[in-house]
Structure formats: C-alpha cells, structure tokens
Symmetry: C2
Subunit: 237 residues, 2 copies
Amino acid sequence: MDIRRRAKQTKRSLETAARSARYEFFAAVARRHRCRTIFLGHHADDLVETFLMNLFRGTGAEGSRSIQTVSVHVVGGTELTVVRPLLSVWRGEIDEYIASAGLRFREDASNADLGPTRNRMRHKMIPLLEKEFGRGIRKAIWRAAAIAAEEDALLEGLLPAGLRASETLSVAQLRSQPIALQRRAIRRWLRAHAIADISFDLIEKVRRLLETEADVAKINLPGDRHARRRSGKLFIE
Amino acid sequence: MDIRRRAKQTKRSLETAARSARYEFFAAVARRHRCRTIFLGHHADDLVETFLMNLFRGTGAEGSRSIQTVSVHVVGGTELTVVRPLLSVWRGEIDEYIASAGLRFREDASNADLGPTRNRMRHKMIPLLEKEFGRGIRKAIWRAAAIAAEEDALLEGLLPAGLRASETLSVAQLRSQPIALQRRAIRRWLRAHAIADISFDLIEKVRRLLETEADVAKINLPGDRHARRRSGKLFIE
C-alpha cells in the first residue's frame, strides 16, 4: 500500500494515513478470523514516548487513545477492541523476563525504522531529560499518562448522548456544557465526519460558531469542507 | 523567614515550604488591606515551564493550580482568590508592549535566582526541545496545559459533596466513584489534613485501603502520621 500517495489523496498527515491503514489491516484480519479483540505489545517506554510526542505536537486527546489499556475503534463498520496489557511493564523488564525464561522472540523489522521524531525522542530527548532531571522522570511521566488516561475515559463518559458524534450538533446543548466537554464533543464529531488532522485551533474555531453574537456562521475545515451553523444546529458540508 | 529550617521542621520539601510561606505572606497582606483577591504576573512562558516541571516531577494535580487563571486558596482561615490574567500572553509580547508604550517596570530581584530546576528548564531544556521538535512546541505545550486546566476544573466539580475534604472519608462512597475521582478525593483529603508532599504512590497506597480483601487497614503517611480504615471509614491519625 502506498501510504505517501494515500496521505496526499486524503489530505492527511503521513502518520494519520499510516495509522488508519494499520487499523484497516487489523479490522480485515479480525473479520477473516472472526475475532474482534486484538492484543498489542506496547510497553511502558512506548507509553512515555507517545505521551511526550503527543504533548509536543499538541495532538491532545486525539493521540491519547494509543496509550489506553483498552480502546475501541470502529473501522469500516467493524468494531475493534484493542488491548495493550503491557503498558505498565518496562522494556527492560520484558527483556529480563525473556532472557531468564529462555524464550524466543521476534523483533518486528519496522522497529529499526522508527521515524525521525520517535527516534530522536527515544535516543536523544529522554536520555537528556533523565540526565537533567534524574532517573525518576520516566516514572513521573508514566504516572501522569496513567492519570490522564483514567480522566480521559471519565470525561468521555460525561458527554450527553445527544452530543456523541451525531450527524449534527445542537448549538443549545453544546452551549450548556462546560468548555472541556464542548471541546470533546466537537473533536468526536469532526472525527466521525473523517475530518483530517483535528487541531486545538480548529476546535476553537468551531467553538466560536457557538457565540450568540458571532456573525460568522461558517468556517473552513481541512479537505475543502466546512462547518456551518443554521437553525440552531452545526452541520458539516 | 528561614525556609530551609521550616522545611526541615515540617518535613516538607524546600519548594513546598517556600510556597506555603509565600501564600501566608499574601494572606497576611490581604487581611491587612481588607482585600481578598491577588493578581499575579505569571505569563505563558511561566505556564509552559511549570507544566513541564510538574510533569517531570510527577506533581500531578497538586501543581496544576499554579497555572490556573483563577484559583482559590484557604490560608490560615483566610480565603484568598489568586488571579493570573497574563497566562495567555508570552513574555516577549509583554516586553514589546512595555517598550512600545515606554512603560517603567520593576524586575523582581528573586527572578535572577530561579532555582536550579527552573533555570535548567528555561535556559536549557526548552531551547533544546524547540531545536529538536520545532518552534511550535511552546504553543503545543501551552494548549495542552490550557485543556488540562479546564478538565481539571470540571473534574473537581464532579466530586460528591460527601467526599470534599471532610474529616473522614466513607469507604463505600469512595468505592462507588471512578478511579480518577477516587484519586482526587484522596488528594484533597490528604491536603486538607496538611499531609506533606502528596505523591501518586501515596495516593495509590491509600486507595489500596479500599479493597475489600485488603488485610492492611493502616498505612504510613509522611510526618509520622497514618491513614486507617475502621467501621467503613478512612481516618487520619
């Protein structure tokens, strides 16, 4: 599959296009084998790296699902449950266990080709942060990520049914929610409409459609699409 | 005031002792002038530094109040509202405004003496992160902190009245809450009892008292104090 071309065609980042291709592959395998749960081997060091990368890129909640122990993804009509049972185990502990138990294992060839950002994070930034702030920072970041994942799940559960990624969003219902939930509802809604690369700024632009005195009733979205306010509802066209 | 001695006496970190001395000073001034609201000049760069420092030290929610636009502190019976109106303005923008308007300003002498951690963060780590991940990281971290502050306020509001820092905590009521709120309730409760240096691990230790099958009904707290479960309640002795 040519991910680069696909990213261009769908006007998404290379990384977003690669992730959706990966999940389509998982969903196809799951359908073929009639199983709906997939176990992935991400460990505590992966979690720390991903958390920092999301933080530095401002991905926010969008990226946080990749560091949850259990997450549900709907891919082409297939509901896929992804479980990551090793998120609280460090890479070093896994290596020790493998060595002590004399297990054979297979290293995924793509691990050697990490991509420049994760590579710099793993081999440069985290060792530097440890040197500056002490060996405890890995654990501190892991804890922050664990707390954030719990709070994230809780906040998702607070979204009223009417605001869960329906075709349109009610302006009045959205306005009645705290800002944190407005942002989440909008993020879900844009994602359900397959809007690419949803940033904090984009969400804040959509939130501005909620202001009563707003004379703007239409904003641009990536991929030549638009969000519009009409008759008390938000639409995507 | 000898902060170092005070930290030793109260078995708290130097930084925690310094913060409480600062807030006692604010409260004393507020009482003397019969005002209850204090404006502080922290700006967007301070917020980014504080957010990262809290993250790397695992301070969690404890430290997050220092980067909220409005926060309420009870100090020696005085309720103090702290407002930070400049948290969304960058230091460079403030400097430009001062220069263009020809304003006089006073640099706090203590700014030159930042403390080693904040100093390294400001002059070493953030420039390094910008070099590695691009100039956008300051803004990305600022946004993450802004989202976290909103979500933090929302989650605080979800705590049931019975779990808001009362003398004892009901085990049954605590158990009925999601983990994220259990952690918050315990944190508030320990803070209300002036327990020093509340860490994630300490909170998790207290949470373990909730397990039905726990044979441990008592755990150690800093400062030679204890949390104990008895007759369906948690106590501090």
